[in-house]
Symmetry: D2
């Protein structure tokens, strides 16, 4: 909890699914928060929880710390530097720190950082690990990069967002951490598909196998919350194969730039490309299981089992 | 805790590092346990905790349930069926259930199972997921296969061993689950090596990167307890590259038998072979990080950081 | 041509498709050849070309050099050591050299070699590189291993079989060369599938692309004679995916035994397994192209083009 | 041979190692050829063979067909469109066809093509398959793309350059063919390294193994002319690992653009990256053999054998 006497005045730009879940946690913790969303209706639930509605991003420039969750690099640039953006007010007011929690390119981030420096505003890159369900369960984390003193100022609020953040260095390094995280996630998903199909063809139900794996030292929140999809074949997208391919494109490009061979990630990249080529581009990347089963001559059916996703207990 | 009126009389054969840690948990829970080890000195700490010493495996044949933790398939066969083995007594006494927690071949297990059936003794295959430190921390798990009623009888005691066991079916299926688990573990280790080196070459310390990953949804007990090795380059073997190669040999043989392609596991198999070829066969398999760094033109040095291994809090 | 005065008396056991094409070449060169096949009808075309028919394998034991082309390890053992086999005569007659051109296991070959040694008969392992069309075109080759003096004696006749043989050493080393050859062949086939699909999706016909590649320094007889299948999608099996998988099983087992990592061969092994899993096990392994196209979202149609296979000109 | 009455007047820009070997072949065939090189000394040997020296690229604009062999995309743009380039003359004279035999990007080629169109000059993309030794042996080939009538006009001269060219379509398609060719070449080289090391660890000399493979249906000019390097470990660069990596960068980018998964090429890409990371970037890519041997725990020594490279017989 933040002491009343030094509580910062906060702002939030972009209250989509991720942003709303995150902002809600600040409100629950009693923070003074003003919110702006392009379509105001999506901000209303937060207003009902006590957020102050803002009519434009520019109105938020008087807040101490402004968080941003938007959909793309271009959206970030527009939200901060655009004609109606955060910095577009004529009065010279500016937040001390902007925390960008979106997944954007290092180039866009660096450009925004450089322009903000002219206003004396620090940018923290804070890409989020986890989807909206993870945030709601209080289990979100983030890598943070940028000026350390800005991090120290924002840390109490960042900590409220989930179960902890890690300061990883200056500049855009947090963007690379997010790419590494997603490369790792893709490899884990493919390997999980391989061993799950092997277990099943050996006579073990997917439910029993994944229960066992998730209890073991190898179990993670991720392998837990993917279990329902693997057992019951619900491939309703949380993150599509096409989006994962994009992260592998970027991650492997970063690896190439730094001259790091990635034999396993490279193979998984190709398997994701194959998944897209076989028509699963808009399905959840958990369809890697389907592709793997087809390659093993196995026709999957739902096990219609009651499988916990490990996210049901909300921490607050 | 087991109710006094129906508490089973237990036995334990093989009190090496793993066996001792596991048997200790049964004693702590108040079980009636007799123990036998080829070299009696290694059983003494358990005797001091209340275990009854046995002079031979055969003496344990009067116990209701006997657990076994030995080093190899041959050791299992000798311990159960050998001239001084568990079943070698002339009086026809026999345990109702034998629980084999060793890592042995499915063939050896099936042979023991078949011979035990003639005595009316059921065999549960119960390969353990986790090393001695994991057991000590109360975080061991196991897959169990064999007759379901034998499982029901042994379950209260199996549950005492760690944070849960999973019954996966008849016969030797638990052996396959263990192989799947270790294939997954090897892939995760290699992928972790790849992204850690990428993060480091991007300017992020291994400590910061792994802290961030371990907090995230991708963090597991495994990625946690490997962090000290990755950060401080302590490759004191917990599990050697050569042993991991053996598990990949067996796991990929099982995949071939069941006609399951394993593209990622197959590549990791070759990378482990390369690790052995480059002279790291007796090092911990975490040396995959070293190999990966060398392939990236990076010379690793210890970060001499204080990194938790996630196992310090002992559950009981 | 062999000088009349020192021409050896030759025998041939097994006149299937490969054996007939090879034996025919010896007859065309004027050799004194006796032939035996389990079903005599298949030997008749050779008899019409001048071969002497034998009523049993045992009848051939008086020949100087006997060639064998049979289907499996068991067939080889039966043909040589079986009750009606080559060495079953009671009179002690035995060939000086037996040349086994079959594809059999190193174990079977070593066993036959050891038993033959008791009769003073040398065994040459002579696994053939090429299919019947390649033999007919005079382009077959073989690796030879066994006692060098036996090789010197057989060499003039081995040379007649195609465009050259290579003595690679003692014992079963020729078997390993054949496995290496087939691993290489499988990798080349998969890579050819990858680049052909890339070329086609870039707007280049398979015919033009493969014509170009085959003219280039990368062109081989193999890439040439596979071109019609790739262009016109005729997957009539010359060598099935299942058979190629078997060679990869054996080749990778040899690599494991000798502790040689094979990253690329291992991936191709898995892709062949996937091909089998997707139902192409009985198709020619050129169906790797189909699998590759499907993974690229491409539906292949025959180009109905006139593509030379590079084998039309028969050398004699 | 070209009939005298309709023989075209030819020009050549860039007489480095490749260009000189190619131009020499036109001179040997009796063509009317003018040559220009930035440093005139390198053109002198051609002048001694009958070529007309030109003082600038611009002087060659009056020739019917001008061939170009330069080192990079920028060099091509300068040679054609630069201030002293081929098209820089004020008199409006222009060749009918320019044949670019360099390895340049599709983007640079398309830009040059578009600007040349304004002069009515056609551009043929004609990337060459083969190194200078291959050209000298008369075994060079090329893929050609661009306007078909320009190809028809240039074809007699293109044919003189080696053992045949293939017209693959409009635009820049020949550039893609070259990338496919080089991806295939890299995969073949890596696979050759794998099986050669396996053969050697099985007791077969590299010389015997490669002799056997090169005689077989798998043998190509490429596997032939790499044999001396593999046997005698002469890694004097003909094409460095770093350059091959660049071709894999481009080839895999093309594959990504066309959504073609390339599992085997992707792994080889990473192995080449590893080769660079281990310090072999400036060595010939045949050092893949060294890397493979090191991963197999094998220390290579030269076999000091007399190995033909298959290029000694010059075709004319």
């Amino acid at each position: 909890m933040v002491g009343h006497e030094n509580a910062r005045r906060l702002g939030w730009v972009g209250t989509g699914r991720m942003g709303s879940e995150m902002a809600r946690r600040l409100l629950m913790a009693g923070c003074d928060l003003a919110v702006y969303n392009r379509s105001p209706a999506r901000a209303e639930p937060l207003v009902r929880l006590g957020a102050k509605p803002a009519g434009s991003a520019a109105e938020l420039r008087t807040r101490d710390i402004v968080f941003i969750t938007v959909g793309s690099s271009d959206d970030l640039i527009a939200a901060v530097l655009g004609p109606q953006g955060l910095m577009s007010g004529a009065d010279g007011a500016a937040p001390q720190v902007i925390v960008d929690c979106s997944t954007v390119s290092a180039e866009a981030s660096a450009r925004v950082r450089a322009e903000l420096a002219e206003y004396g505003t620090a940018l923290l890159a804070a890409p989020v690990m986890g989807n909206p369900s993870v945030v709601r369960a209080g289990k979100m984390t983030a890598a943070i990069s940028g000026p350390r003193d800005a991090f120290v100022m924002a840390e109490p609020y960042l900590t409220m967002l989930g179960r902890g953040v890690t300061y990883v260095g200056e500049g855009e390094t947090a963007r690379t951490v997010k790419l590494c995280h997603n490369l790792f996630l893709g490899v884990v998903a493919q390997s999980l598909a391989e061993v799950t199909v092997l277990a099943q063809k050996s006579g073990i139900s997917r439910q029993a196998f994944l229960d066992c794996l998730n209890k073991s030292v190898m179990g993670s929140l991720f392998t837990g919350y993917k279990a329902p999809a693997f057992v019951n074949l619900d491939f309703e997208p949380t993150f599509t194969a096409t989006l994962l391919r994009k992260d592998f494109d970027l991650g492997l490009a970063a690896a190439r730039e730094h001259e790091v061979p990635m034999p396993v990630a490279a193979i998984v990249h190709q398997l994701i490309q194959s998944l897209v080529g076989r028509g699963y581009g808009d399905a959840d990347f958990a369809a890697l299981l389907t592709q793997q089963a087809e390659s093993a001559g196995l026709s999957l059916v739902s096990e219609h089992a009651d499988v916990p996703d490990g996210l049901s207990t909300t921490e607050t």
